[in-house]
Symmetry: C2
Subunit: 262 residues, 2 copies
């Protein structure tokens, strides 16, 4: 193999905080999706993100692949990537999993939570019911607190895998909820207090049943909101914005390579 010319020196960019660029890209894109900055069903440009995040395309591509694995985005190999718009069937399927995980979490909580943890849960439930009863402005707070509530149940169940599985599950649901502020129906007034009461009663079977009921109610809520989201998405169909083309040079002129700038 002939010698290669010396490559030009490259500016080195020290890594920030010791985390890999791919992880940073993953977190950044994920939070952009969850915050609604990248709307449901909207297109994602890998190169655009790479420019915005000041990194090469590669970490972004890896992050997108991971997000696809998580079910947050959808990538068609040479055409583009979009934020995944779930179908009603997807959501039902997801809730089957969620029901499985949450009921298991409830069982373990009922078996293993300490006295202090049970007291804490009852307090959280009361606060949560109050938030939901409040006026519309508190709904985002309520959603976040609701996630924390379930997260705490899983933590007290004492199984890290369960915690992370449930967290991943909540991420998807939050994503589906945030993007449609309309059609909000508050849950029954004592909804979470009733749940906490049963969970803290030291009866795993009863905890399982009550949690199952709780999750199924959540399914109805999300399905309602999905319909609203889809109405919005259909009104603004996803489209890739492209640069204006230059006028075509009439006919048989195969030269003019004219690299696009940059």
């Amino acid at each position: 193999m002939a010698e290669r010319p010396a490559p030009q020196p490259r500016r080195k960019r020290p890594r920030a905080g010791g985390v890999s660029l791919t992880s940073r890209a993953y977190e950044a894109i994920r939070s952009a999706i969850l915050s609604g900055e990248l709307p449901l069903g909207g297109p994602i440009s890998g190169r655009g993100l790479a420019r915005r995040l000041r990194m090469s395309l590669l970490p972004v591509a890896q992050a997108l692949r991971q997000l696809e694995n998580d079910g947050l985005v959808e990538s068609r190999p040479r055409a583009g990537t979009v934020v995944r718009m779930p179908t009603a069937e997807d959501i039902r399927g997801h809730y089957v999993i969620r029901e499985a995980l949450e009921t298991q979490s409830a069982r373990l909580f009922a078996e293993r939570a300490t006295i202090a943890e049970r007291r804490e849960l009852r307090a959280m439930a009361a606060a949560l019911d109050t938030l939901y009863a409040g006026k519309g402005g508190a709904r985002q707070d309520a959603n976040r607190t609701h996630a924390t509530f379930h997260h705490r149940i899983a933590e007290c169940a004492g199984c890290p895998e369960l915690v992370s599985a449930i967290e991943k599950s909540h991420v998807l649901v939050l994503n589906w909820l945030y993007n449609s502020a309309a059609d909000f129906h508050p849950p029954p007034r004592r909804w979470h207090r009733d749940l906490a009461e049963v969970l803290t009663r030291d009866d795993p079977e009863a905890a399982d049943r009550k949690m199952r009921e709780h999750v199924r109610f959540g399914l109805e809520t999300v399905l309602r909101r999905l319909a609203a989201s889809q109405r919005l998405a259909d009104a603004a169909p996803r489209v890739f914005i492209r640069q204006r083309r230059r006028r075509q040079s009439s006919a048989k002129n195969p030269i003019q390579p004219t690299k696009p700038k940059r």
Copy 2:
């Protein structure tokens, strides 16, 4: 920006079968791990795999990242990647998830399976019990059939997400089992027939209870085998094999760049 020399032309390698190289790498590495070709706790060289699979490092790196996400391998950023060796705590955590998913699957089967599917399941259970009762040679078959058995239950439950979640779960368990052929204890003689009998009885609660018992038995089995695996792994500590170094040129001779061949 000075002009760069023209890059040498690159042989193009058309993609085989339309699947991305990353997916091929993922499948190849995964199956190499599951078949035991890459032993539990053993080191994995990204570059070595890339050479073997006739592709660049990049798809392999992406595949490894995905496998890390699945919990099959473990990567220390600049030091190397190894096939993940689970701790007993990992396995217990994993089985909490598995119990959640399988009991949900059992419930749905009891609710929704057709008559034909119920008959099929009883037949599979009988065949499976026979396999386990046979002599040691049939054990790999038995393990595979066992996976199929649970897979079928999930399929009949009618939820694709549940099927894939359970499948992913089984992959890990199979991995942990395959690599320790010792300490095999067959399950009770009518173990799967009893399970199938309850599942086909149209009583979701009973199906849940029976499946829970079934899964917990599996946990004991895997824990026993893990102990055997670890004894083996401790005997042969993981080590990276490196090329022999050339003799150091005595002292203050900073020349001799002598690129390593290839």
